[in-house]
């Protein structure tokens, strides 16, 4: 009888525990980077940076970008947090550029959610942004990437033939080195040296 009293809560709670564990496992399932088409930029340095073969005006997919780690920033010219984060994101880009390892190419692009070309261009000029920015006026790219607010950061890497999303962060950050460490750690690259 006593045994039953002790066992009852365990038997009652076990299904909930298993449900919880299975939910936790589901969330760690690999997230494949969806197919997203962009237009090859006019800027030749950007074409080279992205490792694209097409000509300006032609289209390419995110998967064609030559990068071991691709960082996508979701931003909007209208978002005060994105404005606030922009100089720190620029520093992050500089840090990423300083990593010179032959087997590790880090690339960053920005997607202007609900922004026209003019709005993206205004943002670029206002903050002197060196990495390529693309407009997403109807937010179709943002939605396909399942964006969760701006600024948002999505890290992708190659996993065999696939490109997978391994990193998602929403909101700004204050320490670009810490952010980069976090990104590299989560990519499974703990020994990358970047001067702090």
């Amino acid at each position: 009888m006593n045994k039953n009293i002790v066992l009852a809560p365990i038997i009652f709670l076990l299904p909930f525990l298993f449900t919880y564990v299975s939910i936790a496992e589901t969330s760690s399932v690999v997230e494949v980077l969806p197919e997203i088409t962009l237009t090859v930029p006019e800027n030749k340095e950007h074409i080279q940076y992205l490792g694209l073969k097409g000509k300006p005006g032609e289209s390419f997919t995110l998967g064609e970008i030559e990068a071991d780690i691709l960082m996508i920033e979701l931003f909007s010219m209208y978002c005060p947090y994105c404005q606030h984060a922009a100089p720190i994101v620029n520093e992050l880009y500089e840090k990423m550029e300083q990593i010179k390892q032959p087997d590790l190419k880090l690339v960053m692009i920005g997607i202007g959610a609900n922004n026209t070309d003019l709005e993206v261009d205004t943002f670029r000029k206002g903050f002197d942004i060196a990495f390529p920015l693309f407009s997403d006026p109807d937010m179709s790219i943002y939605k396909t990437l399942a964006g969760e607010g701006t600024p948002g950061f999505i890290g992708c890497k190659k996993d065999g033939e696939k490109n997978v999303i391994f990193f998602r962060e929403s909101g700004g950050f204050t320490d670009h080195s810490e952010f980069l460490d976090n990104l590299l750690n989560r990519a499974g690259l703990k020994e990358v040296d970047h001067a702090r």
């Binding site: 045994k3 002790v6 066992l7 809560p9 365990i10 709670l13 076990l14 909930f16 525990l17 919880y20 909007s76 010219m77 209208y78 978002c79 005060p80 947090y81 404005q83 609900n114 026209t116 003019l118 709005e119 205004t122 943002f123 206002g126 006026p137 607010g149």
Partner: protein, 206 residues
């Protein structure tokens, strides 16, 4: 022994659930203060002005302290009237931060924005303080309620205003009007193109 296991399982469960709840909590910020209504009727008023009209003059109090008269800019600046529906609502809460950021574009076109809502001064003050350094006058059309908006025909049935842009040249003439779907932010392109046209025409006629 079994009792110990039961307690351990319970403790583990409580820990897991609490950890989950604490992850869901996020700090308060500007965005979380914004009230989000359902999608609204796109346009709910009839314009009372048209392109080519002299813009009806008005005088309104600003959050910066002084009263601003539309005609004070005549001969000096092109004016962009930016009516937005209400403080603390979506779309409006990022439309003006965009204009705050794009200041240079307006200055290049010798233009000033007059931001207008039907909110009272304290509400407008608190709301716009979240937007950084607002360089243009923010005007309160609170009392008599929405009188200026009504003169222009952009006062909605519920007492808020349309999301409207009215481009006025240095002679005080209305040169372009956009009453946008209230649920959508008008592209910056409309303002820049309209102002550009004003300045280009002026140069060619001189």
């Amino acid at each position: 022994m079994l009792a110990n296991i039961a307690v351990s399982v319970l403790a583990a469960l409580i820990f897991l659930i609490q950890a989950d709840i604490s992850q869901a909590e996020k700090p308060k910020n500007f965005r979380e203060l914004i009230f989000t209504p359902e999608s609204l009727k796109p346009i709910d008023s009839d314009l009372k002005v048209k392109v080519g009209d002299t813009a009806p003059d008005f005088i309104l109090p600003s959050i910066q302290g002084e009263k601003v008269r539309l005609s004070q800019f005549q001969g000096n600046k092109n004016v962009v009237l930016s009516f937005v529906p209400a403080a603390w609502t979506p779309v409006c809460s990022d439309q003006w931060p965009g204009y705050v950021f794009a200041r240079q574009l307006f200055e290049d076109q010798e233009a000033i924005i007059l931001g207008i809502t039907v909110d009272n001064i304290p509400t407008l003050y608190a709301w716009t303080r979240q937007m950084g350094e607002v360089w243009f006058p923010v005007l309160s059309d609170f009392w008599p309620h929405g009188a200026v908006a009504d003169t222009y025909g952009v006062l909605r049935g519920d007492g808020t205003t349309e999301r409207a842009l009215i481009i006025i040249d240095k002679q005080g003439i209305i040169r372009n009007i956009k009453v946008e779907d209230i649920n959508v932010r008008p592209p910056l392109d409309f303002i820049v193109t309209s102002l550009n046209r004003l300045n280009t025409k002026k140069t060619s006629s001189e």
